[in-house]
Amino acid sequence: MQLIYEKCRGRRAVTFDALDVPEVKLPEALLREKPAELPEVSELDVVRHFTHLSKRNVGVDSHFYPLGSCTMKYNPKMAEAVAAYPGFAWLHPHLSTVPEYQAKCQGALALVYELERLLAEIAGMKASCIQPIAGAHGELTGVLLIAAYHRDRGNTHKDTIIVPDSAHGTNPASAAIAGYKVLQVPSNAQGLVDVEKFKEALNDRVAGVMLTCPNTHGLFESNIREIAELAHSVDALLYYDGANLNAIIGQCRPGDLGFDVMHYNLHKTFGTPHGMGGPGSGPVGVGERLLPYLPGPRVVKHEDRYALEMPEKSIGRIAAFFGNFLIAVRAFAYILHLGDEGLRDVSRMAVLNANYILARLKGAYKPAYPGTCMHECVFTASPQAAQGVHALDIAKALIDCGFHPPTIYFPLTVKECLMIEPTETENKETLDAFCDAMLEIAKLVETNPDSLHAAPVTTPVGRLDEVKAAKELNCAKLQ
């Protein structure tokens, strides 16, 4: 398919009325030499181009998308509609900055206040802050809060964050960007944090411990209270990576488990769209210890008026305003609609659906760990790989069957990993169709493995040459 730049014929899409004031130019030396070579196409050219591009994508609306760890649940249309209300979508953020203007954004400030309260309650935290713009940004914020706590207490020797080997790559990366050394602890044979190894790693230099629970093996860290007590015994704080909150929402709460700080992924747990890679939203929640350090300014309520205050010990601004506010609006609508019982049902059905897939596939694919799982099931395709069919081949074959593949080769702790997260919004027919396809592929591994190496054959392009891409590094059509 042509690039939009290859469709230029000197046409115009948007035009403007003639200037109603005299035209003025800046001094010559401050002007750009020649105009940027942007597309010169008609409006219909643009609409056709991007409509055709959209058809070269699959999304949750068109396909089952069991991408493990990403919680690709249905994105309700109601949430899209309310986020587009002009009173939210067109609202200038600096209305919140200027005291004289704050009366003109009370509805938006009320929403921030209410959502932050609900998020805190859902996770058993004292307070939350919606400033962080994405999950990893929330992680960084959380680790900066831990750093502020230790700085305040004079814990200047603390320079290390512990992260399990099953963690998302963002955990060690966020810790490093917040200025910490990273110490990795291994998982045990059951797929959980090895508590003995954790004890060996733990010492007075440890500032914090980042855990995902359930972890990326889809398993609940059942020793969590012991881990929390051990961490707290050296004044290390416990960080909850909210990537997998969907598994436990309404069943147990990170705050009650002993976590001091966490981030939420509104685009995972609370049904907001993933937008081809973002915008997401990564609010942080904190317990008592970190409450004074939350990013600010914060929305506070004085009787029936909302205003902004910078907490005295705040780490400051992590975003210019309220993060991805329009994503927060969607999450707020989602929470209000599902409510108490609906949110509890989210985790029940997310977990049942994952276990259903596990039960149907475990005869043909090897589960990475024994027993039931939480919201996602993890298999190793090592037996298939021994027959020449790798996790990658299985993923590509699934595309030809009409499914987005699961996450592959993550977590790094599982060889030839297939990580399947169905979410609660999928119906049984879809799960059955997916399982049938997986079982069919497993049969092909036995009978005709070569046929799987050609997949996918139904897509606009076949497997692409990634080495060539990195070597030639053509990342823009400059002329």
Binding site: D61, L91, G278, L352, C475
Partner: protein
């Protein structure tokens, strides 16, 4: 329950397949003492009720006043086709294109976005997006530190004070020395903004040369719409250009989602944060696009990655691309010309106030009023104008200073009426 389709019968049958007696059994790995007892979450309400409630909240917000408020975020026109195309769910319900064969729409769009931003800034490489203008400044600072192996960052007075605060928050535990000024000696980079926070347009070509002579990088934070007219970061010799991309088709949205833009020179691309899309071919020689240089990223390099960024603002990048495609080569110049000409028209009408800027401005300028800017702004609000940003509210000026922004949306009648109302409010 809406959005959760399983019927009681189906639940029963699936539990049988799993071999569990009840849904409760599936949570047996959570120690009983840790199970939640109760929470203060209200009962669910219908779509109709929730939509009504949010509607009532939304109308408490003022989006009807005639808008002269900028400060880095502007009330620009967004063509209807932007929202129409962004609303295609093949885009917004997809995720990061880990499987390129079924994500060519996303990948080609990002390649086209990267192309647009390279052409706009006169630099060679762009990433697929960062979070926003402020975090892009932080990423540019740490990228400069990786390139130069230095730990000092110099911030020019032109930079948005909110970005400066965000830089300080993000870098708080990194041992980075952040100093004010423009002396590049021993620094990883000098960060400037053009036009400045107060709207002044400068040529930083000489500063770029001084930076390079001192082994430092020049980072330019730019305002995308202004590049329809003014000299580009690339032409000035900038090494990294970053921007808040809100002005490219993103609704004001009370602060987000916005778009962090970053472009750079070829020599620095391997130290750039964020996802990058590259062109390649499949086995049959068909052109296709993939994520490339992934060894820079957290999912491969973990604590040694260039950045912790994972989710970015890809849909906002698509918005920017569609917006720029609709405006086109001529349209962006026309928008820039209209913004500048209308601002200059207004500036001439405000003879009663002192202009604070010390040079030419693009579409925003600061005036010193005869009275407190907040008081004048409150009076103007009563007359239906958002008068601008009182600079003291962001710690960037005196009590009487007001930052006024003008976009292509303002008409001559609005400019005349606003000038008269501001004069009345500040002189009486």
């Amino acid at each position: 329950m809406s959005w959760i389709p399983a019927t009681e019968t189906e639940r029963r049958s699936m539990l049988d397949t799993v071999g569990a007696a009840s849904l409760e059994d599936l949570f047996a790995s959570i120690p009983a003492a840790l199970r939640m007892q109760s929470w203060d979450v209200p009962p669910g309400r219908s779509e109709m009720a929730v939509s009504e409630y949010l509607g009532r909240l939304s109308v408490k917000n003022d989006v009807c006043s005639v808008n002269f408020l900028g400060g880095g975020y502007y009330d620009h026109f967004i063509p209807a086709a932007v929202d129409a195309l962004i609303s295609r769910s093949e885009f917004y319900t997809a995720y990061t294109p880990y499987q390129p064969e079924c994500s060519q729409g996303t990948l080609q769009a990002i390649y086209e976005y990267q192309t647009a931003l390279c052409r706009l800034t006169d630099l060679e490489f762009a990433n697929a997006s960062l979070y926003d203008g402020g975090t892009a400044v932080f990423e540019a600072a740490t990228m400069s530190m990786r390139v130069t192996r230095r730990e000092k960052v110099v911030v020019h007075e032109s930079l948005n004070p909110v970005y400066r605060k965000m830089l300080e928050t993000h870098a708080a535990n990194l041992g980075v020395e952040i100093v004010s000024g423009e002396n590049p000696e021993g620094a990883a980079c000098v960060i400037v903004q053009n036009p400045s926070f107060l709207g002044t347009v400068r040529d930083f070509t000489n500063l770029a040369a001084q930076c390079h002579a001192a082994g430092a990088l020049l980072v330019v934070s730019f305002y995308p719409v202004s590049l329809g007219m003014i000299k580009t970061p690339g032409a000035m010799g900038a090494d990294i250009a970053v921007a808040e991309g809100q002005s490219l088709g993103q609704p004001l949205g009370f602060g987000g989602p916005y778009l962090g833009i970053m472009t750079t020179r070829k020599e620095c691309v391997r130290k750039m944060p964020g996802r990058i899309v590259g062109q390649t071919v499949d086995a049959e020689g068909r052109r296709g696009f993939v994520l490339t240089l992934q060894a820079r990223e957290q999912h491969i390099r973990r604590e040694k990655a260039m950045s912790n960024i994972c989710s970015n603002q890809a849909l906002c990048a698509l918005r920017a691309l569609v917006h720029l495609s609709l405006l086109g080569k001529a349209g962006l110049q026309e928008v820039a010309t209209a913004c500048h000409s209308k601002a200059e028209y207004l500036k001439k009408k405000l003879g009663f106030a002192q202009i604070v800027n010390d040079g030419p401005t693009f579409n925003e300028f600061a005036v010193r009023l005869p009275k407190k800017a907040g008081e004048a702004a409150a009076k103007l609000l009563a007359k239906g104008f958002l008068a601008g940003l009182p600079l003291a509210s962001v710690g960037a000026g005196q009590d009487n200073d007001l930052l006024i922004a003008v976009t292509e949306k303002r008409t001559r009648e609005e400019l005349d009426a606003f000038a008269a109302a501001l004069e009345e409010a500040s002189c009486n």
